[in-house]
């Protein structure tokens, strides 16, 4: 199994409630900023991917709300918030 599909299977084990809107956004114009690049490796849910134009995009489904990207990349490139109540990951074991 590829690393990517293995991670998908793991995330599939968790309980997620639908997010009404993304709680983390790449700030406009920051897609190609160097500070965002580590997000490709440091997100434990692998939610950041590189587009064909070299910019980075974020797909929020599967977010574990850990904040690694916030601390690692910083608030200049990410508009970071927790999701509203009644949304996002709901750990059953913790």
């Amino acid at each position: 199994m590829s690393d990517e599909s293995r991670l998908k299977v793991k995330l599939g084990l968790d309980v997620f409630k639908p997010l009404k809107e993304p709680h983390i956004k790449i700030r406009p114009g920051m897609e190609k900023d160097g500070r965002l690049r580590p997000a490709l490796r440091i997100c434990p849910a692998g939610l950041y991917t590189e587009r064909s134009d070299g910019g980075i995009s974020l797909s929020i489904d599967g977010c574990l709300e850990c904040g690694t990207c916030r601390v690692g990349c910083g608030s200049d490139v990410l508009d970071w918030n927790y999701p509203d109540g009644d949304a996002g990951v709901q750990y059953r074991f913790g």
């Binding site: 084990l13 440091i42 709901q90 750990y91 059953r92």
Partner: protein, 427 residues
């Protein structure tokens, strides 16, 4: 507009400890939790040390849903191709009261919330505290779920990232060197398998830490804690290390850890039932934020109360204690009718006199000493090599032991070890 005496943001251990303590004294307290239930957003590696906090909550933990009491401690240096392990167990660990337990937070936090509610605390789930209300330089309430709620005092217990502490001016933007990423899987195996594989009986448990190749020789490590019929297996990686070293890919680190021969046998046939990630405060005393302000206090991870000294990694008892102390400070402030920062400053005094800030201060140098690349890269390989030579029986004659060991310990190496030990002496 609704008004409460105390509003607590976050139903983790700190928030619930504060709520439990305040409600027990008849104070009106509202806890706001963004998860579907307390614990829904909380992750811990999974072991708690009860000795320092039993007195703060007399009898409370006797009925708590804890998993196993830890009687076996293990520490392994993982080299690329071998491992060297130190184990410890003792009668003192088997005797009651047990010092440490494995724990699963969703279960524990829900139970703890029920205890706080039974004392009269109000709990509102599925509500995120979006902001603080500030009037004339003083926090007078919160905005939660779009509603304004007023309180005499707000206790910030929103965890390691503590967006609210930043809004309250108690903390500045987080520095990568003060945080580590924890990634964990809860893996179901039967109780019998846990007992057999870890040499346990009844409710005895084991805890094992790993350093070295887990994080490719960078700051961090791995852990396995036994639960009743599962294990909590995870890795911890310093965010600084993660940023600097491109060979580290966070999701892959836990996979390679699970594939290690030392680990794979322990989880054989197991089924992962949850995959989680959370940050851990690693900065120690120097990374603790401001603890209080006008009408506001911070406790638990939100205040930065956690301590990694290599063999023990602690946070939960600091959260429980600081929540309780925040409550006591509020009760004193209430007596004097003064919730200004002057009235709440007693919180700092209580913490200074307690194990919370004394531990953090005693181990103030620990983060700097532990962040030594030789501990994670060099020593696992070198000690592994020595073991290989000492235990090895070659085809021909075997070299004298002294010469075998000396070969690995050049004068330059001995000097470097001496320098590392000088660092360790600061812990």
């Amino acid at each position: 507009m609704e008004k409460f005496e105390v509003i607590i943001a976050g139903a983790g251990l700190a928030g619930l400890a504060a709520a439990y303590t305040l409600a027990s004294q008849g104070t009106e307290v509202l806890v706001l939790e963004r998860g579907d239930y307390p614990g829904a957003k909380n992750v811990s590696g999974g072991r708690i040390y009860l000795n320092p906090i039993r007195g703060l909550f007399p009898g409370l933990f006797d009925e708590a849903p804890l998993e196993r009491f830890i009687v076996h401690e293990g520490f392994s240096l993982l080299a690329k191709e071998r491992a060297v392990t130190l184990g410890y167990s003792g009668d003192e660990l088997r005797k009651e009261p047990h010092q440490s337990f494995s724990i699963l937070r969703s279960k524990f936090d829900r139970w703890f919330a029920e205890q706080a509610e039974s004392k009269g605390a109000m709990l509102l789930n599925k509500v995120r505290v979006e902001n603080l209300i500030e009037e004339k330089g003083r926090i007078v309430g919160v905005v939660a779920g779009g509603d304004e709620l007023r309180g005499d005092v707000v206790v910030i217990c929103d965890g390691v990232l503590s967006l609210l502490s930043e809004k309250a001016g108690l903390r500045t933007a987080p520095l990568p060197k003060n945080y580590a990423l924890g990634i964990k899987e809860v893996i179901k195996i039967t109780k019998e398998a846990v007992d057999e594989r870890f040499g346990l009986q009844g409710n005895e448990g084991a805890a094992h830490l790993y350093a070295g190749e887990v994080t490719k020789g960078r700051f961090g490590g791995g852990f396995i804690y036994t639960n009743l019929d599962s294990v909590s297996l995870g890795v911890v990686i310093g965010i600084d290390a993660l940023l600097k070293h491109e060979e580290l890919d966070a999701p892959a680190v836990i996979d390679s850890f699970k594939e290690r021969p030392e680990i794979s046998g322990l989880i054989r046939g197991g089924e992962t039932v949850e995959y989680s990630a959370h940050l851990i405060p690693e900065g120690g005393y120097d990374a603790v934020g401001k603890l209080y302000g006008e009408g506001v206090l911070a406790a638990g991870d939100a205040a930065g109360f956690a301590l990694n000294i290599g063999f023990t990694v602690r946070g939960m008892e600091y959260a429980l204690a600081s929540g309780c102390y925040a409550a006591r400070a509020i009760l004193q402030a209430k007596e004097g009718g003064d919730f200004s920062s002057r009235g709440l400053s007693v919180y700092r005094n209580i913490l200074e006199e307690s194990f919370v800030l004394q531990d953090l201060r005693n181990f103030r140098e620990a983060p700097r000493v532990i962040d030594n690349p030789r501990f994670f890269g060099h020593y696992p390989e070198m000690i592994g090599d020595i073991m290989k030579d000492v235990y090895g029986v070659p085809e021909g004659p075997k070299e004298r032991l002294y010469l075998t060991v000396k070969r690995r310990l050049s004068l330059k190496e001995l000097w470097a070890i001496f320098m590392d030990l000088r660092g360790v002496m600061k812990i």
